[in-house]
Amino acid sequence: MSLLQVENLALHFGGLKAIDDLSFGVEKGEVFAIIGPNGAGKTSVFNVITRIFSPTEGRILFDGRDITRLPREAIAGARIARTFQNIELFEKATVLDNLLLGRHRFARGGFVAQMLRLPHVAAAERADRDAIETIINVLELSPYRTVPVSELPYGVRKIVEIGRALAIDPTLILLDEPASGLNPEETRDLSFWIEDIRADLDVTVIMVEHDMSLVADVADRVLCMNLGRVLATGTAAEVQSHPDVVAAYLGA
């Protein structure tokens, strides 16, 4: 059974069909890429999975469980993480604070316990701090720990956002255009990190991406969308040579 199963998904805004009868499955442990022209509905798929929108039709199964109508804040508890197309970091906070917020679902102690700073609250704080160190090491964010996010270069901020998503300890991570705005060296580093995320941290990856070389590098399977529908699925090579995909998106 697939880890994530999308069945007959539709998202209509009045007459506009952002997603139109979309079905696909993502297996555990694979890197799955979604490509397609702008406006194809790729980010909308992410928005529906993470419950920013409710689909007009269809359903989504995650690990056998129907998450189509889950409350928005329960997605993290279901161990699904995401990054955003336009970086949604907490600008005034440091990298550490951003990552610590990623540990929110592990928070212990109610309001009174935190107000009194009971021992188990302090212990939980130290445990959180310890947990994000692994992420800082993997993503090479050590020099930036105490730097406010607003002062960081663009490439580093993208990585911090991935780090924060990983802090949830997810089973599935959705990366929305992770390579956009990155130079070739940073993109190459990113391909290594995606591999590490999959292999070392045991996280399934779904990414929306325009950078074909990155897709060819890391993706196990690719889905091409256009106008809210599936255009083609298969390995990167298969999809890239598919005539419909070439006509709609890649060009000859």
Binding site: N47, I52, F84, Q85, N86, E88
Partner: protein
């Protein structure tokens, strides 16, 4: 309850008259809001200051009304433009909250300056129509009401024409949506914004002169901006039409609440409407919908 036709007509006319004031004040708020996305909390204080200035010109300097009024309007328009040039320009790009705080600060300074200059007493503003009434088939209406309604109609038509049909008006709308793009399109954004503030100031001055005969020339005149906020919420934030609909709506509701509802409700009904509308129907009757794309 027996329906008293004369009383109903009286209530309607009063409601439309006071509602027109709310509408005009709200129209001034809409102008600055559309241009710089700042809700000008000092608008009511500009209104209050213009009442004092007009009073001063007539009573202390001995000017005739039809000289003092236009002079006041011009002076306050200039003051508003100065506020934009000296203060509001410097916080461009900062979040909306900074603008709100800045206008509150300017409002405080105006209130303080007027209080220091003129002292705490309330005064009367002598106008050609003060205290005069007309009788129409059993209903007594103040001439002031007619003047207010006529002025509102004229001003609203002029504003519609300006914003929709002139190049400058369209520049105003462009600059309000994306300032950087407007700059790059060759619009003189700073000049346009100051012009809008001047127009808003002129509107505030006009309202001050119209309102003063009933409400007296007093510091508390600035409170009318709170009612106009309710009007904007009712009618919808983004348009003069909304200001008009909302203003007259609030005016009528207040008048009828004063007669048909328990004592004291009239004073707060505008604020209750504000809260309820913002929760249930935030766009307002004629408003625009906005959302955030992630």
């Amino acid at each position: 309850m027996p329906v008293d036709f004369a009383q109903i007509v009286q209530l309607i006319v009063n409601g439309v008259a006071i509602g027109s004031i709310y509408a005009l004040v709200a129209a001034g708020l809409v102008m600055t809001y559309k241009a710089t996305e700042v809700l000008n909390f000092a608008h009511g204080d500009l209104l209050m200051a213009s009442a004092f200035v007009c009073w001063g010109l007539i009573t202390l300097a001995g000017w005739p009304f039809w000289l003092a009024a236009p002079a006041t309007i011009a002076a306050i328009a200039l003051l508003a433009a100065l506020i934009d040039m000296l203060a509001m320009r410097r916080i461009v790009g900062q979040p909306q909250f900074a603008g709100v705080m800045l206008t509150i600060a300017v409002g405080f300074m105006l209130r303080g300056a007027v209080s220091l200059t003129f002292g705490p007493d309330a005064r009367n503003l002598p106008t050609p129509w003060s205290g005069q009434t007309t009788r129409i088939s059993g209903v007594v209406l103040t001439n002031l009401s007619f003047v207010i309604i006529a002025a509102t109609l004229l001003v609203t038509l002029a504003l519609f024409a300006f914003l929709g049909r002139t190049r400058i008006g369209i520049s105003v709308q462009a600059a309000s949506q994306n300032q950087l793009a407007a700059y790059l399109s060759g619009i003189r954004v700073k000049w346009v914004n100051s012009l809008v503030w001047a127009i808003a100031g002129a509107l505030a001055a006009l309202c001050g002169i119209l309102l003063a005969p009933t409400a007296l020339v007093d510091i508390s005149l600035w409170h009318v901006v709170l009612k106009s906020l309710a009007a904007l919420v009712l009618g919808g934030f983004g348009s003069i039409a909304g200001a008009l609909v909302g203003g007259i709506g609030i005016g009528l509701i207040e008048q009828f609440a004063g007669v048909y509802m328990p004592d004291g409700v009239k004073d707060i009904v505008a604020y209750v409407i504000l809260i309820v509308m913002l929760i249930v129907w935030p766009r307002g009757l004629l408003g625009e919908a906005h959302g955030r794309r992630v």
